[in-house]
Amino acid sequence: MGGDGAVAEIVGRVVDQVEAAPGTYRLTVEAPEVVAAARAGQFVMVRGWGGYDPLLPRPFSFAGLRYSEGVFEIIYRVVGRATALMAQWEPGQRIEVRGPLGNGFPLPSDITRPLALVGRGIGLAPLVCLAQTAARAGFQVWAFLSARTAENLRAFGGLRDVASRVWVTTDDGSEGTPGLVTDALATALELGDTQVPTTTVPAPPPAGCGGGGGTDLGAAYCCGSRRLARALGSIREKACAQGKPWFPVYVAVEQLMACGMGHCQGCVVKVAGGAGRVDAAARPAGAVSYARVCREGPVFPLERLVWE
């Protein structure tokens, strides 16, 4: 599952930058050598400033890949000095791009089962790219979008455009329904019928109606939120307890990075049962170790991750 393509270190060109919502930007960059080998789930390191402060390039997952144009998109929020600088970039700006890095989202081979993509706020960014890839491959994409408020979802129209069904939950009820996005998924799975209209949370089943039957998921994906990842795990447990088939849950993890290429061992997360190369020596089954988000990740199967 590791990154297996050649990594390019090139100068890309900013094609477009749009402030999709206050403080949230969609940046489009022309970088054909990077895009040609790229898949949803992977990321790039970008740097477009001289000097030493900020020092390091910053990692961003692909939010879109346009292969025929050699162009990629990222969606980011201004959270610090580097992203504040990035928000100033104009079309024509030359930036250093290194990528594609990391592994990609695995897709099941059976395209008849829908995929659930569950994300909150800026965590939706890599899922946009995944949705586009999956839809192109013929999958039904069920998109579950969550945010504090409707404005935080404005950058993610690309996800809605390709999804077969969309559920929205916002904390303040400004769009969709208030409540937890994972409850929406749980309910959708329990009902699982195709008559339910999109953009609303389906009504709970009448009393006395058991589970079982309905739609089986091919896989579920989430990004950047420990809570969401755990909730997906619980939903899977409940689904299996009701006799539904097991489905893989993939989590796109974030971690601070320095090299982004697997050298410095700085970007690790705790994983269960034997990790990357450094654990080649025999370790007892169930022993906890570390894996590099930039190489063994950023996409991990849920059960591999160890939460503190």
């Binding site: 020092l55 170790s289 570390y290």
Partner: protein, 313 residues
């Protein structure tokens, strides 16, 4: 005529004075991703330890002004796995079959002084290993001090390595000690063939929202441009104190930086953090060095080593 970049670091001959700092470059990873390492005089492995180590809990990284804090904590496959699996794979890499192949320097780290001897002994005679670098900035489990910060531990560790191998031994010291010159003399007396300085400087950051240290290991090592003045002074002092060659490192990011270190007394140079934000840094430094030497009328990089001392410094 193109200036000569070849240098001798004691018995170790390098086709150019540049190498990566230990822990910042993994040749096997580069090969897997189809990236060329560029022209280097030597490559230095991540520190290898007697037993496998997972390393410290994350967060292991934090960027600061012009610098990087790390508390990676020496993850290591252990010497057995290194010898059986990693070293054979390293030897097979194309980069070592090229005409001007870099020298392979293996970095070793221990928990007690005799670890350095044990590791050096196991590497002694291994084909393909050109030298050993002692990572002495790891805590001694007995006394909780780092070898590079304690004269007694330093002497024991370097002596232990010396007794176990005929390979050239590079002792990597820390600049943030009371007297790095005194430590360098101890390393020299104990049989080191060269001194490399500096390892990362002790540092930390605190998250004011959570009101606790940012790094998983609480404190870490500072590297990058922020430490250059400290590293440079350490090279200056060590050069004055010892007769064995000095390898300088700490914040080198440009060819101008590299020249400063050469003038201060470094015979060879390591670049680490700059690799993360300037991938072409080795090529840039090599090019800039040649231009400097030509402009100043020097035929060889060795002509400038330690020149700053001569000018009444």
């Amino acid at each position: 005529m193109k200036p000569k970049l070849a240098v001798d670091v004691g018995r170790l001959w390098l086709c150019n004075p540049l190498m990566n700092a230990s822990g910042t470059l993994d040749l096997l990873e580069l090969a897997a991703q189809g990236v060329s390492p560029g022209s280097l005089g030597a490559v230095v492995t991540k520190s290898i330890t007697p037993r496998p180590r997972a390393g410290n809990p994350p967060p292991r990284l934090w960027e600061v002004a012009a610098g990087l804090l790390n508390s990676v904590g020496i993850p290591s496959p252990g010497i057995e796995a290194f010898l059986q699996e990693m070293l054979p794979r390293l030897r097979q890499l194309d980069v070592f079959r090229a005409p001007h192949a870099p020298a392979l320097i293996v970095s070793i780290a221990g928990e007690v002084p005799s670890d350095y001897g044990a590791l050096a002994g196991m590497l002694d005679g291994e084909p393909g290993v050109a030298a050993i670098e002692l990572n002495l900035s790891c805590p001694n489990i007995g006394r909780g001090l780092e070898f590079a910060r304690d004269p007694v531990l330093l002497r024991e560790a370097v002596s232990s390595a010396r007794a176990a191998t005929r390979l050239p031994i590079i002792a990597k010291l820390a600049a943030d000690v009371t007297s790095v010159a005194e430590m360098a003399l101890i390393a020299q007396d104990s049989g080191a063939d060269a001194i490399s300085v500096t390892n990362s400087l002790a540092g930390m950051a605190i998250d004011i929202r959570r009101k606790r240290p940012v790094l998983g290991n609480l404190t870490g090592g500072l590297t990058g441009p922020a430490i250059k003045p400290v590293a440079l002074r350490a090279v200056w002092e060590v050069y004055r104190a010892v007769q064995i060659p000095v390898i300088g490192m700490g914040g080198i990011s440009t060819s101008e930086d590299a020249v400063e270190f050469l003038l201060a007394g470094a015979r060879a140079l390591a670049v680490g953090t700059a690799l993360f934000f300037r991938p072409g840094v080795f090529e840039e430094i090599e090019k800039g060095l040649c231009e400097y030497l030509e402009r100043e009328g020097f035929g060889s990089v060795t002509d400038v080593v330690g020149l700053a001392h001569r000018s009444g410094g």
